[in-house]
Amino acid sequence: MSEIKNIFDISGRAMAAQLVRLNTVASNLANAGTIASTKEEAFRALKPVFQTTYADQMKHSGVSTVDVVTVAEASRAPEKAFMPHHPSADADGFVFRAAVDENEEMVEMVEASRQYQNNVEVISTIRALMMRTINMGK
């Protein structure tokens, strides 16, 4: 990962991470309710894994940002349902529903968007401060 140069790196990379999180929520919600014939084929919810990236300790101690290291499948098991007339039903009449909890995803979506907004707020405040600092002594 590249070095953290300034405050725009900190908040910008955090915004990128939150956007990955929103994307996984969108894909999970889009696939909620899909049905598969086997347990392996059924959709499983995707979750991003966040990790702190620290800046060079000598120059900027305490400064860090966040990166998405991987997007992993959640361990929730697909739900087995008896639907013998469904075209995807297996020989015994069972289908497997996607392992997505819609309520959990909605909460995740609201939290991600709030934290994204917080980072936007930080950037716009800092930018205003920088503009005022440039005009110092005028």
Binding site: S11, A14, F50, Q51, S61, M136
Partner: protein, 128 residues
């Protein structure tokens, strides 16, 4: 340090420290969703005393090197959470937002002080 430099030194140091603290608080806000992240902060009061107290090294001979003690190596502290969360993250958005907005306001205050001093100097130089 020359007269004008030392006249502006305190507020310049304060501005630098405020901007450093802004970066730290932005890092905390950036890591609001990272498990096991511990929120950091620095104690402005003790840091500014240290920064202003040290200052440049006195030189008694013009062949001595006038070194200044670099303003790095701030003493970083960990924030004590009000409501500890299960994932080990100690960032509380309400606290961080409050600290950030306070720090931004104080940065602007320092900037205003600095501007006033510069304006005062300018009018003294012009002699109007």
């Amino acid at each position: 340090m020359n007269k004008i430099g030392s006249y502006l030194n305190f507020h310049a140091q304060a501005l630098e420290l405020r901007s450093r603290r802004n970066e730290i608080l932005a890092s905390n806000i950036a890591n609001a969703a990272t498990p096991n992240f511990k929120a950091r902060d620095l104690d402005f009061d003790s840091e500014i005393k240290r920064h202003v107290g040290i200052g440049p090294l006195q030189t008694t001979n013009e062949q001595h090197f006038p070194t200044t003690v670099a303003a790095t190596g701030n003493k970083m502290l960990f924030r004590e959470p009000i409501n500890p969360s299960l994932d080990g993250n100690t960032v509380e958005l309400s606290v961080e937002q409050m600290e950030f907005s306070e720090n931004v306001t104080r940065y602007q205050t320092t900037l205003t002080f600095l501007n006033n001093r510069i304006t005062g100097l300018m009018s003294a130089i012009r002699g109007e």
